[in-house]
Symmetry: C2
Subunit: 491 residues, 2 copies
């Protein structure tokens, strides 16, 4: 099997270069001097051009033709499956288009940030229009006559389709809307107030990361405008942010990104710098970040421990006891911003984006009409109007950098987290007693052993099915939400 | 000239990738988590392998063959000269050797740092032996039957030879030794003491960088174990370090690196991401860092301004007046460490390394005997014995990462700085009045216009000759040193 060996050696270099390209993205958001934007766009385009050449290298086709996958073990077969898929995908996208997308989206992120800060949709429209145009072209190339949006989803969630997601959302919407109707504005949530110095917030963020098992020897935490996790293997970095009035923003962003990072850090080291060495899909990734953040991090038991940690760091926080803090971090509240939404309403924000971006990619909606479409839909779904673009169509970075087909994986991650949480509670019946002491190790060890360690070995749905012992469905999530918020709001 | 256009487009991508590789090195020294060392070695090797493929790409040969350089202007001709040279060089080194060197030297730097911290030469010897072995092989491939060490010098200082450097050192040694003999231990230098908090040192470092014209919009300053400058064009980053007892370490390291960085930032923007878009040689680079640091930064006029700035930040510094501070920063003192050496003795440290590394590369000295050779030579040159490896053979990072032929460019830079300083003083007769107010702008503007802006347009020697109006020689430096230290020590 010298073809297999040669292929894996070639792939090893490609994976290492992909790590470098990812770190360049991290640098851009954390360290890069502001005057370097244009040069960075050239550097990013150069890296993407190298990666594109390697992913379309004719030798890949020759090696793949020579390899008899049936003679390989399950790990080798999974490697070949990933490489074959990546090669087929890369061949479909013309090199010039890939390079143009890389260059345009490297700049457009900064342009989006400036537009958002200035509440200036108009200036940003031509930029977004170019991105949408390019991504439509890419989607058409990928779909090869099939459904463009399905082809785009496949980049983030292999084997998933818009029709399946639509069915999932159809099952979720009525129960979420009913739950929201029952609890929203029913009881004023306890409100945090006090002094939350940035240094103390970052100290608490580090403590939380450690508590959830993040390995600082293979990562670091920095501040950035947007929290994210970046990198695989032994160099998985996260960012967070602080807000003077709202330390929960920092704490739960941190726990969320730690979930992503622990997934990457938890993958079998034998898969490092191979296609199996990173999270298998965005949906499975989000299942980890969400279960860390919500089912564990916003549980009554864990928030009881957090109450003590916060009192120790911040003194009087105007929240009388642990039970009040639990209610504060689980308040179902009005708001425009997806990332600040409560567990009940979060997926409604995703459904809005799912429908709009499908229409954009299908050509049924043009960028010129996007803001109006957003505002109309928001009013219809939430009952109140968007007050400014940064609370509406400009709130998320995703579309500016060409991430279409990505949003629904957030909801899929919530659904997956619901399945995993049900199984976790069965597997670790005494979990709450641990969490009340700030000990997440039984939960994170279970997630590591059942989900994280496998990396890209199985398909996303199989990964969740094997770990949870059930066919993934929204039912466990909806039941969990109804029980949890029913109790909080004493329905 | 479509061949020229294609060549330059290809080169543009290569230059952008080289910037990415450089930034990866910066990250390794400033940001990388310690557990990522092995993965980083793979990433670095992957980048070097990509760069090596591009630098040996057969299309380069085809384009170069098609281009009639005489039909190009001077800028185009210089571009072709650089690319032709780089292509010829790259073809000489086998790809596997280049990749192995990249991988080994990525790890060896950390191994050197650990060995130095543990004063453990023995553990480090096999590592260094491998580096020396690999670099000899590379040198032999580059020399192609000629002088191995000359071939290695050429990587850092094009058109320079060991024989020319030897002649330069021969001219310098007796006068430097005589000067040292006349001043060493003659008068106790005023000694700084006080409280120098890290934050205040870094604040002063930023102030100094600004004072010397460093553009923070296109760079940043971080702390690292070793001060360095990294990157070209619009993203030129520097590092510095702080020492609780010795703020001069921080301040002069900063000014030194600012000299390097201002050179890169000062190059004609039209040359960005081309072979002309970076400093033309290490010697010319060092001429900028040294003239910023010494001829300007350690001048009587500038240190008078520094005295005020230091008093404002640190209060009582146990140095009574500006004149005493001038003497303190120019004290000719005993010491083992090259980077802490005074202007009089610095080049003697280089001569020691120059002779030892020539012998190493020629095979006249083996790594097993290197520590003894260093210690014998140090005793002979400085009159006292090395007390521990971190003060001797383990003090510099260079050899651990395969930089052979690099050390002599430091002295060459001093010599070039001497020539430039003579011309600068003629061009800006009132400079000292500016410097006494902390205004370096006339000096830096002159250096920018005469040296920095040209980037790689001319040869190194021509760059200095045109800027200084003289054929480069050690004479101006030696005269400057004799006058300056003669006055300080009242000879």
């Amino acid at each position: 099997m010298s073809a297999f060996k040669d292929l894996m050696a070639f792939q090893h270099t490609t994976e290492a270069l992909a790590q470098v390209a990812g770190r360049l993205g991290w640098d851009q958001e954390t360290m890069m001097p502001r005057g370097a934007v244009d040069q960075r766009a050239e550097e990013t385009a150069a890296m993407q051009s190298v990666l594109h050449s390697r992913r379309t290298d004719p030798r890949l086709g020759e090696w793949l033709a020579q390899i008899d996958a049936s003679a390989l073990g399950p790990v080798g077969q999974a490697q070949i499956r990933h490489i074959r898929k990546s090669y087929a995908r890369a061949l479909k996208v013309p090199a010039d288009l890939a390079k143009t997308i890389a260059r345009v989206t490297s700049r457009s992120q900064g342009q989006w940030a400036a537009a958002r800060a200035a509440e200036d949709v108009k200036t940003f429209l031509p930029v977004l229009d170019e991105v949408v145009h390019l991504k439509r072209l890419e989607g058409q190339a990928l779909a090869d006559g099939g459904n463009v949006y399905d082809a785009m989803i496949d980049d983030y969630e292999p084997d998933m389709t818009a029709a399946e997601l639509q069915a999932m959302f159809d099952a979720m919407r009525p129960r979420l809307v009913a739950l929201r109707g029952a609890v929203l504005d029913k009881a004023p949530a306890p409100k945090l107030s006090g002094s939350f110095p940035e240094m103390a917030q970052m100290d608490m963020a580090r403590k939380l990361a450690q508590t959830f098992g993040y390995d600082f020897a293979k990562g670091r935490i920095d501040k950035a405008v947007h929290p994210f996790s970046s990198g695989s293997g032994h160099d998985v970095r996260i960012t967070t942010r602080t807000s003077a009035d709202d330390p929960f923003n920092c704490f739960y962003s941190t726990i969320h990104e730690v979930g992503h990072a622990c997934y990457e850090q938890g993958i079998d080291a034998a898969y490092a710098l191979t296609p199996l060495g990173e999270g298998v899909s965005m949906g499975v990734h989000e299942s980890q970040s969400r279960i860390y953040e919500n089912q564990i991090g916003r549980s009554r038991a864990f928030t009881a421990w957090m109450f003590g940690e916060m009192r120790a760091r911040f003194g009087d926080i105007s929240v009388a006891d642990a039970e009040s803090l639990y209610k504060a971090v689980n308040a179902v509240h009005r708001g425009y911003i997806r990332t600040e939404a409560d567990e009940v309403q979060y997926n409604l924000h995703i459904m809005l984006r799912f429908d709009l971006e499908r229409a954009l990619m299908a050509g049924d909606l043009e960028v010129a009409d996007l803001e109006a479409a957003w505002n109309d839909r928001f009013k219809a779904d939430f009952g109140y109007g968007v007050d400014k673009p940064s609370n509406g169509v400009l709130q998320d970075v995703h579309w500016s950098v060409g991430l279409f087909g990505y949003f629904p994986t957030y909801s899929l991650g919530n659904v997956y987290a619901g399945c995993l949480h049900t199984a976790l509670r069965k597997a670790v019946p005494g979990l709450d007693a641990d969490l009340a002491l700030g000990d997440t190790s039984a939960a994170t060890a279970w997630l590591r052993a059942t989900v994280q360690i496998h990396g890209g070995l199985k398909t996303p749905a199989q990964t969740i099915a094997d770990a949870s012992g059930m066919t993934p469905s929204p039912e466990p999530l909806l039941t969990y939400l109804e029980e949890k918020f029913g109790a909080i709001y004493a329905l």
